[in-house]
């Protein structure tokens, strides 16, 4: 490496570090191969596969009811929404009409999941830029949602409530009151989030103008969810292809134009307000009726290809089923939002500092099991 030029001692040399698989900022077992010049990032090469469990292959073996329970192991922060995606795909393929009650409950549960996911993200976002206290504030509020879910379906993380045809069981009698209590509580706490982190000068300086993703890049990398909406790409599945009860609620799609780390942060904060608005519109009007449409014990989809997309907390989750008429799918492909969002990381972070990379990663809101599946 040594050359004989006279300025050799002052020549900067790029070096190479491994960020992950065990690193606090990669939020799981993601490995980033970084080429760094001093503090400036020259190249990023994500290395995936450390938590690959071949979920898609396992789906080919399982019946459609069983597949639902694999999906909450993908994006464990959007477990209910993932379950809903598979259920909707199966129901659409069968031409099954679920009761109104199911649609409304699914929407409420999905929005609660989104809130819980964003609360965790907010806590971790603060921690990644060095404000450790946010973590505990986010978890304080997430805990209430977890308690609601625990009462509803028995689990706090890998929740299973949706089944093809409806819900596993009816709502717990306390559900409505507890959700109302939570909304009342969180409406006073969300402004606290702004006071603690959003308005902080250091935080704004750390995030504004950092990791800019233009609208063109956002579209060409296939990013969805808050990442794309911060860049001005209107892609909310709930708005454009409404499913469940989203066609009857009023809410705004959080859209910004700058596409830097700070706007990605703002999108999620605004989405929390919108989620609360959606829940408020539905919680008093849960229709009475059955909580599921009976299906055959063995579900056989007709021959053909079926696609269903939903909006998880991270973006668009697609479920693509190729059926050959048997009780299990011939091929099942998940289009996970985290994978596409991660692909834009190099575009965003090359040229910025090591500290920026961590902030950018935090606003991508990566869940590694969702990327690897």
């Amino acid at each position: 490496m040594t050359t004989t030029t006279e300025n050799n001692a002052f020549k900067s040399q790029e070096y190479f570090i491994n960020m992950g698989p065990q690193h606090p900022a990669t939020h799981g077992v993601l490995r980033l191969l970084l080429t760094i010049d001093g503090e400036i990032i020259k190249n990023i090469d994500p290395d995936l596969g450390y938590i690959h469990r071949s979920i898609e292959k396992m789906c080919e073996r399982d019946s459609y009811q069983q597949i639902v329970h694999l999906t909450d192991r993908m994006d464990y922060l959007s477990a209910h929404i993932n379950n809903e995606a598979v259920c909707l795909a199966v129901e659409n393929a069968l031409g099954l009409e679920v009761p109104e009650r199911v649609k409304v409950i699914r929407t409420i549960i999905a929005e609660l999941t989104r809130l819980a996911s964003h609360q965790l993200w907010w806590g971790v976002m603060g921690m990644d830029v060095g404000a450790l206290t946010t973590y505990f504030y986010g978890f304080r509020d997430r805990e209430m949602i977890n308690d609601i879910f625990e009462e509803t379906c028995g689990a706090r993380l890998t929740m299973n409530y949706n089944i093809p045809g409806g819900l596993m069981f009816d709502l717990h009698p306390n559900f409505v009151q507890r959700v109302k209590d939570f909304i009342a509580h969180f409406k006073t706490k969300l402004p606290e989030y702004d006071t603690l982190l959003t308005g902080n000068v250091i935080f704004q300086k750390r995030t504004q103008g950092v990791g800019i993703l233009t609208k063109e890049d956002a579209i060409s990398f296939g990013t969805t969810g808050p990442v794309a909406r911060a860049s001005g790409f209107s892609c909310d599945v709930r708005k454009h292809h409404p499913y469940s009860a989203y066609d009857r609620v009023q809410f705004n799609e959080a859209l910004f134009t700058v596409g830097d780390t700070f706007t990605r942060y703002q999108v999620r904060i605004q989405e929390m307000w919108e989620s609360m608005a959606i829940i408020e519109q539905l919680i008093d009007n849960i229709p009475d009726g059955e909580f599921k449409t009976p299906t055959n014990a063995v579900i056989k989809l007709p021959k053909g290809e079926f696609y269903q997309r939903v909006e998880t907390a991270r973006g668009e989750l697609g479920v693509f089923i190729v059926s050959d008429g048997k009780k299990n799918p011939y091929r099942l492909k998940f289009r996970s939002p985290g994978f596409s969002n991660l692909s834009a990381l190099k575009k965003m972070a090359v040229g910025s500092k090591l500290g920026d990379l961590v902030a950018i990663m935090a606003t991508l809101d990566i869940v590694v099991p969702d990327i690897d599946r």
Binding site: A131, L132, T133, K205, L354, G355, V358
Partner: protein
Amino acid sequence: MNISLSITKNIHDWLFEVMSAPFATVVENVLIAVAFLAFFALAGLLLVWMERRIAAFFQLRLGPNRVGPMGLFQTIADALKLVSKELTGPDKADKFLYNLAPYFVIVASLMALSVLPFSQEFHAFDINIGVFFLIAVSSIGVIGILLGGWSSNNKYSLIGAMRSGLQTISYELSVGLSILTIVVLAGSLQISEIIAAQQAGGWFIIQGHIPAMIAFMIFMIAGTAETNRAPFDLIEAESELGAGFHTEYSGMKFAYFFLAEFINMFIIAAIGVILFFGGWLSPFGITESIPLLGIFWFMLKVLGLIFLMMWFRWTFPRLRVDQLLTLEWKYLLPINLFNIVLMAVIVWLGLTINF
């Protein structure tokens, strides 16, 4: 009436009475050293406990509350655990420098501790360049951090160490210049004289009004940066570097770094108290006739400033490395230089507020 108990003076007199002068000097110095070492360990452990309790208070947690009353002995238990741990190190580390680094850090903070006046009585080492000595000695610690990061054979440690180097070198300027602002006001570098001047004319933060307050703010910012604490904790930014320069240290060597960090915080807070809040003096001179109470007032004020620094840490996000340097070189340093001139003009024109 002066109800001085003169503990230290009595011990000094007694030592010189019972043994020959050279021998007594040696014994006295050893006693002082032992006292400081004991204080060092005790204060470090107590501050760790305080930090954990305060962090818990900010973070809706309880903090350590099982071992001893209010969890007071938790840190002692942790220290015992660290002592009993195996000292492991990376294979290809530069063994000599790797083992040397913790001592640099701990010796630097011990030396700085030695000139601090705890009260009129407990002031071991009152040299005429006291403040200068403090600034000089407190910057030795960074050598230890640089060595530790360099010799660990770990790139994350190295990044942490390099950040520490540039951070300490930059912010030392601000600490030094803000201290100089007060030296202009006091007219002396000797700590006892600085405090005497405050006894005569009121605490410097009031006596020097506007420039003193600016100097105090700069001192707190730069002091926090020099102790490598959040929001300037870039050298051990756990979300970026894992643990920074002490990633590869274990057991007691790690504990040295850890304790030194807290003692450095104590030292910065103590300098702040000496220069701006009258050291051991009581507010409005209410207990001036009982010099022994000086230690109480001194510790109270120091703990107040330490609480402020802990408050910073658990509230603010971390700065980025270029923002860190921008803040120092583009804002703090020019303001500081202007502030010294302002202070000089105010002292020259006699515009200080004297009680």
